[in-house]
């Protein structure tokens, strides 16, 4: 973390770090969990995205201060949306 980083940047960096660690270590407490971050700190670890959404919004109502990651997901996978011809 650097002094010039904004809250969204700090949140994003933490989310990416959590995902890297969860992918490298299946024993990580975050592995296969939905992790909610607010103001640069982990505040929710949930089993489902619905639970994460509900709890994170309760803890931090300002969505600009929130971030989430599905830990252990391979975000390098390219998702396909068929093109309408």
């Amino acid at each position: 973390m650097t002094p010039t980083q904004s809250i969204p940047e700090i949140n994003r960096a933490l989310a990416e770090q959590i995902n890297r660690e969860a992918r490298a270590n299946p024993q990580s407490p975050y592995a296969n969990k939905f992790v909610g971050i607010a103001n640069g700190q982990v505040v929710v670890v949930a089993d489902t995205p619905e639970e994460l959404s509900r709890r994170l919004r309760q803890i931090e109502p300002d969505p600009k201060k929130c971030f989430a990651v599905e830990a252990s997901r391979d975000y390098s996978i390219v998702e396909e949306i068929w093109r309408i011809v």
Binding site: R12, L52, R54, P63, A68, R73, I81
Partner: protein, 132 residues
């Protein structure tokens, strides 16, 4: 079981969802192309919407997602509350945010959103619907 039916839109299947503007509390209807060819059952997002809708309606960010096909590149992803009042459906979903939704539509309801329901024309070729 509750069922909602919508007339085909530009000859294509669609659904209508309701978003709520954070600032005013005003509801906004959005017509989404019902597209079983959008994503898979494992995709991290269930809907595709204009990014402005995500930001104005209280979306918070997820790690971004990479898409190819109708869209190409890395796209922001948001958690966004979505309602379908006729079904009593009110849940947050993960949304891939784009600058340009499909022409004539406000976004896409992807396969793993539609697949949560029973979907189809329910015997009426001029409509598309969801049954919860």
């Amino acid at each position: 079981m509750p069922r909602a039916l919508w007339p085909l839109h530009h000859g294509r299947p669609c659904i209508e969802v309701v978003l709520t503007l954070t600032a005013s509390g005003q509801n906004m209807s959005r017509v989404l192309l019902a597209d079983t060819g959008a994503g898979t059952v494992q995709s991290p997002f269930q809907l595709v919407l204009d990014e402005d809708d995500c930001l104005l309606c209280g979306g918070f960010s997820y790690v971004s997602v990479t898409i190819r096909g109708a869209y190409s590149g890395a796209f922001p992803m948001y958690d966004l509350p979505v309602r379908i009042p006729a079904l009593g459906f009110d849940e947050a979903h993960r949304v891939a945010a784009v600058a340009n939704p499909p022409a004539g539509f406000d976004g896409i309801a992807c396969f793993n959103f539609l697949n949560r329901f029973t979907y189809g024309n329910f015997g009426d070729a001029g409509q598309f619907g969801l049954e919860a």
